[in-house]
C-alpha cells in the first residue's frame, strides 16, 4: 500500500483530503462527522465579524439529467458567534488530534482586527490559518473577501499585517474572479504568506426561473450574484493552479488545490498540476462525507499501480507538460479511426464533423444502420468525433507524424514551411 499521509507546511494529516472552508465545516457536529468518515483535515468556515445570512442560499446547474454539475452559493462567512466557533474548534482538536485543523479568517479591514482575530484563533491550538481573499458575494461590498484578492496591493498589505502576528502557517486563498491570479499571488508571496490555495468560487448567475422570471437562488423575488463551484469549475481551477505552479515566485510555496474536486481522480489531477493537497466541498455537500472512502482507496490503488510510494513522488509531475502554444510540435499529426466492430451507428461523429468541423467522415447509407468511416486525407485530428462517440474506445486517434523531427511554430515559420494544408 502506498503512503498517502500528507505534510502541508508541517501540518500533518492522514491523507491529502481536506474539507474546504464552507458550510460543511461550520460546526463541531459537521466536523466530527467528517473526521469520523475519514477526512484528513478541515478548513473551518471563515471567522470574522458577526454577519446575518438569508434564505435561500444555494442554487445549481443540472445537466443531461444529472444534478449539480455546478453549484452556487450566496452564503456569507460563519454567522455563528465567534466564541462558540472557537470553543468548538478546541473540542474538535481534542477529539481528533491527528487531523489537520485550519481556520479560515476574514477580519475587518484594519490591522488590529486581524491581529485580534489571529490571537484568538491561535489560542485554540489550530494548526494553520487560511486568509479568505476570495469570497465573491456579500463580503466584497464591505471591502472584504474578493475585493481584497482582486487588488494585489491591498492583498499584500493584509498579508503583511497577518505575518506580523501569526505564529502558525498562513495559507492565502485566492479568488478566480481576476484575469490572472499571478499579480495577487506574487504580491502575497512577497508579503510572506507560507502557502496559497485556490480557487475560491466564481461569480455567477445559475439561471432564471422561467415562470417567475426571477434568477436563482430566490430571495423574496430577487436574487444576487453568487459563487460558482462544483465539477463545472474544475477545468478553470486547474488552469489557475498551473499558472501558479509555473510561476517563479509562486511555485516556491505549497499550494492547496480547490475547485470541483469530487473523486480521487480529480485530486490526483490537481496534485499532478502542482497542488500539495486538495480541498473538497461541493461533492461532500451533494453526497455526504462518505465519498472520502473511495478517494482514499482510489488514490492508494492508483499510486500502487504507478509505483508511487508517497504523495511527493507525483505532486507536480504534469506541470512541465503544459507549455506555450509556440512550443508545440507541429509535425505531430493524428487521424481518427472508427472501429467498425464497436460502432453502434449512432451517427454522432458524422454530424459533428459534417456540420461543425472538417467533413472528414464518410456516410454510407444503410437501413436502418449507416456505416461511417474516416476520410483520412480530410481529418485534421481535432478529436471531436472521439469526444462525442458514446462507445468507449470505438474511435481512436492514430499517430501519423508529418515528419519524424520535432518542429515548433517559430522554427516552422523560419523555414517557410507550407501553411494551411487542410
Amino acid at each position: 500500500m502506498a503512503d498517502i499521509r500528507s505534510n502541508f507546511l508541517g501540518i500533518k494529516s492522514p491523507n491529502p483530503f481536506w474539507l474546504a472552508s464552507a458550510p460543511p465545516t461550520d460546526k463541531k457536529i459537521n466536523v466530527l462527522r467528517a473526521f469520523e468518515a475519514g477526512w484528513g483535515g478541515v478548513v473551518w468556515k471563515t471567522l470574522g465579524s458577526q454577519v446575518k445570512n438569508v434564505s435561500s442560499r444555494y442554487s445549481a446547474v443540472n445537466y443531461g439529467g444529472h444534478k449539480i454539475m455546478g453549484f452556487n452559493n450566496i452564503e456569507l462567512i460563519s454567522d455563528r458567534p465567534l466564541e462558540i466557533n472557537l470553543k468548538e474548534i478546541v473540542e474538535c482538536l481534542k477529539l481528533f488530534p491527528d487531523r489537520a485543523m485550519i481556520v479560515s479568517l476574514m477580519a475587518d479591514n484594519d490591522k488590529n482586527s486581524w491581529h485580534e482575530l489571529i490571537k484568538k484563533v491561535e489560542d485554540t491550538g489550530a494548526h494553520g490559518l487560511e486568509l479568505n481573499f476570495g469570497c465573491p458575494h456579500g463580503m466584497t461590498e464591505r471591502g472584504m473577501g474578493a475585493s481584497v484578492g482582486q487588488d494585489p496591493e491591498i492583498a499584500k498589505m493584509v498579508v503583511e499585517w497577518v505575518m506580523e502576528k501569526a505564529t502558525i502557517p498562513v495559507i492565502t486563498k485566492l479568488t478566480p474572479n481576476v484575469h490572472s491570479v499571478i499579480p495577487t499571488g506574487e504580491a502575497v508571496v512577497e508579503a510572506g504568506t507560507n502557502a496559497l490555495s485556490l480557487i475560491n468560487t466564481i461569480q455567477s448567475v445559475t439561471g432564471v426561473d422561467l415562470d417567475t422570471l426571477v434568477p436563482n437562488p430566490y430571495v423574496a423575488g430577487k436574487s444576487v450574484f453568487g459563487g460558482y463551484c462544483g465539477p463545472a469549475v474544475k477545468p478553470i481551477a486547474l488552469k489557475f493552479l498551473t499558472t501558479l505552479a509555473q510561476n517563479e515566485a509562486t511555485k516556491k510555496i505549497p499550494i492547496s488545490g480547490i475547485g470541483g474536486v469530487s473523486t480521487w481522480k480529480d485530486a490526483v489531477e490537481f496534485m499532478l498540476l502542482g497542488a500539495s493537497n486538495v480541498q473538497v466541498c461541493t461533492a461532500a455537500m451533494k453526497h455526504g462525507f462518505r465519498i472520502v472512502e473511495d478517494m482514499i482507496e482510489g488514490m492508494n490503488n492508483w499510486m500502487d499501480e504507478k509505483g508511487f510510494k508517497t504523495l511527493n513522488d507525483f505532486i507536480g509531475k504534469s506541470v512541465d507538460n503544459i507549455v506555450h502554444w509556440e512550443d508545440l510540435d507541429i509535425n505531430y499529426h493524428h487521424i481518427a479511426k472508427i472501429n467498425q466492430d464497436k460502432c453502434i451507428h449512432c451517427g454522432l461523429c458524422y454530424i459533428a464533423c459534417e456540420d461543425t468541423s472538417h467533413q472528414a467522415i464518410d456516410l454510407a447509407q444503410g437501413k436502418p444502420y449507416n456505416t461511417y468511416s474516416i476520410k483520412d486525407e480530410e481529418c485534421v485530428g481535432c478529436n471531436l468525433c472521439q469526444l462525442v462517440c458514446p462507445v468507449d474506445s470505438c474511435i481512436t486517434m492514430e499517430e501519423h507524424r508529418v515528419a519524424p523531427e520535432y518542429i515548433n511554430w517559430v522554427e516552422y515559420q523560419k523555414r517557410g514551411l507550407p501553411l494551411n494544408d487542410h
Partner: protein, 446 residues
C-alpha cells in the same frame, strides 16, 4: 365443458385486462429514460418507423420540458402516435433498431416516451395543428380507421373539408375493434378519434357502409376525390369439416365482441384452440385465457422461426400459460349436437420455401386430437374481394391495386389494409399520409 360468459369476478376481469404497458408513473421516470437517448443522427429508430417519426427530436424535447413540441413532432408524422405507442410491435420497429441493442443494453423505451408526450397532449387537449384557409374542395373517405383518419387529418390541415363514411358506430377501425383490450381501452380509442377530429373540418357519418347505403359513383359525383380505407375484415376460412359448428368463431369477431361488450358478456370455452400465430392469434388466445378459459392451445403449421408474431407477443401468450403446438394444422372439427367437442390436427413438417420465402408446411399424415369446446380461427384475414370487384376496382385477390395511392377509378384513391392486405396500424397511418399527398396533388394542381 361449455362456452359460457361471466366466468370471473369484476375484480378478476379488471386485473386481467389492465394496461399491459403501463405509462411512466411521473416526469422524473420519463426523464431518466429520455436522458439516456443518444440523439442519433439519421437515427435507426426513425428509419425503422413506417411513419418516420423523428424519435430523437421528440425525446430531446421531453428533456427540455417542451412536451408540447414533443407531441407536435410525433403527431406531425403520425396523428395516431398515441395509439401506436400502445399497439406498435416496437420490438421489430423503432426499439428493435435502437443503437443501445448494439451495446447489449436495454433500448430506449421509445413507445413509452411517445405515450408520455401524446397522452399529455390528449389529456390537456392541446390543439397543435391549425387549418389552412379553406380551399373549397371536398373529399370523401370510406373508413374511419387509421388510414382514413390519417388521410383526413392531413387534408383538413390543408384546408380541405372531409367527410368520412364509417360502417361501425365508432371510429378508429381495428384500433377500436381489433386489438387486445389490455393494450388499448375503448375509452382511449374514442378519445383518440375525438382528438384527431378536434382540428375541425372532418365529419364522420357513422353506420354508412359501402355497397349498402353509399356508393362510389355517388361519392365521385359529390366530392373532388374519394379515398378508400375500407380495411380487411373477413377471417380466412380453414376449409375443414366441422368449421360451421357452434363453438368455431373467428378471432376478429371474438375480439370485436370483447371490445364492444363488457368482459363478462363475452362467452368463452373452457378448453380453447386458437389457429394461427400472428398478432391477432396472440390477442385472441391471451384474451380467451384472461376471460377465464382454463386451457388455451395455439396451433401453428410452421415453427417458431417462421411465426408472424414477435417474440414479445409470443412471450405474452406463454406468460398467460397458453400452450403452443408447432407444426400442427387443423384437419377437422368434431362435435356433438352441432357443438364442438374435439379438434383433429395433423402434424406437419417443413418443406421447401414457398412464395412467402418461408418454408412451406407439409402434411405428414399423422394426426392427433385435442378435446376442446371452442376453436378460434386466426389464420389471417382476407380482403373484401367481391365488394371491390363489384365496384369495378382493379384488385389482386381482393387487394386493391394502386399507383401512388390512385386506383383505376378517376379521383378514387385507396390505402391501408385494403391495399396491403393487413399490416400494422402504423403502416395504415403512413398510407393515409401518402394518400392525402396524392389527393392534394390531384385536386389542387389539376
Amino acid at each position: 365443458m361449455s362456452i359460457i360468459n361471466n366466468r370471473l369476478s369484476k375484480e378478476q376481469y379488471e386485473k386481467n385486462f389492465e394496461d399491459i404497458h403501463p405509462a411512466f408513473e411521473n416526469k422524473d421516470a420519463a426523464l431518466v429514460e429520455a436522458n439516456r437517448c443518444l440523439f442519433c443522427y439519421d437515427a435507426p429508430c426513425m428509419k425503422s418507423c413506417p411513419t418516420s417519426i423523428d424519435v430523437p427530436k421528440f425525446i430531446k424535447q421531453i428533456t427540455t420540458d417542451n412536451i408540447k413540441g414533443s407531441a407536435h413532432t410525433i403527431f406531425t408524422s403520425n396523428i395516431m402516435g398515441a395509439g401506436c405507442s400502445k399497439v406498435c410491435p416496437v420490438e421489430k420497429l423503432c426499439e428493435g433498431a435502437c443503437v443501445y441493442n448494439l451495446m447489449h443494453d436495454e433500448p430506449i423505451p421509445i413507445a413509452k416516451l411517445q405515450r408520455y408526450s401524446t397522452e399529455m397532449a390528449m389529456e390537456k387537449k392541446w390543439q397543435l395543428f391549425s387549418r389552412k384557409q379553406n380551399t373549397g374542395k371536398k373529399v370523401a373517405i370510406i373508413g374511419a380507421g387509421p388510414a382514413g383518419l390519417s388521410c383526413a387529418h392531413v387534408l383538413s390541415r390543408e384546408g380541405i373539408d372531409v367527410t368520412i363514411y364509417e360502417k361501425e358506430k365508432l371510429g378508429g377501425g381495428l384500433m377500436t375493434y381489433g386489438i387486445a383490450a389490455y393494450k388499448v381501452t375503448p375509452q382511449f380509442c374514442k378519445d383518440e378519434v375525438d382528438y384527431i377530429l378536434s382540428i375541425g373540418g372532418i365529419e364522420i357519418k357513422y353506420e354508412q357502409e359501402l355497397g349498402k347505403n353509399i356508393s362510389i359513383d355517388e361519392l365521385q359525383k359529390n366530392y373532388d376525390a374519394v379515398y378508400l380505407a375500407i380495411g380487411v375484415g373477413l377471417a380466412r376460412q380453414l376449409d375443414i369439416p366441422g368449421e360451421n359448428m357452434e363453438g368455431v368463431i373467428d378471432a376478429i369477431s371474438f375480439i370485436y365482441d370483447i371490445r364492444n361488450s363488457g368482459f363478462n358478456k363475452v362467452s368463452v370455452g373452457d378448453k380453447v384452440a386458437v389457429i394461427g400465430m400472428g398478432m391477432t392469434a396472440i390477442d385472441a388466445a391471451t384474451q380467451a385465457k384472461r376471460l377465464g378459459a382454463s386451457e388455451v392451445t395455439m396451433l401453428y403449421r410452421r415453427t417458431k422461426e417462421e411465426m408472424p408474431c414477435t417474440q414479445v407477443e409470443l412471450d405474452i401468450a406463454m406468460l398467460d400459460a397458453c400452450k403452443i403446438i408447432w407444426l400442427a394444422a387443423p384437419k377437422e372439427v368434431i362435435g356433438e349436437n352441432g357443438k364442438v367437442t374435439h379438434l383433429v390436427a395433423e402434424k406437419m413438417k417443413l418443406g421447401e420455401p414457398d412464395a412467402s420465402g418461408r418454408c412451406a408446411p407439409v402434411a405428414t399424415g399423422e394426426t392427433f386430437t385435442l378435446a376442446v369446446d371452442m376453436v378460434i380461427k386466426a389464420a389471417g384475414q382476407t380482403p373484401y374481394q367481391s365488394l371491390v370487384t363489384t365496384n369495378n376496382l382493379e384488385n389482386q385477390n381482393g387487394k386493391l391495386k394502386v399507383n401512388h395511392s390512385l386506383t383505376n377509378l378517376k379521383g378514387v384513391f385507396a390505402g391501408g389494409d385494403c391495399v396491403n392486405g393487413g399490416r400494422e396500424v402504423v403502416d395504415a397511418v403512413q398510407a393515409g399520409k401518402d394518400g392525402a399527398k396524392a389527393i392534394l396533388d390531384f385536386i389542387l394542381n389539376v
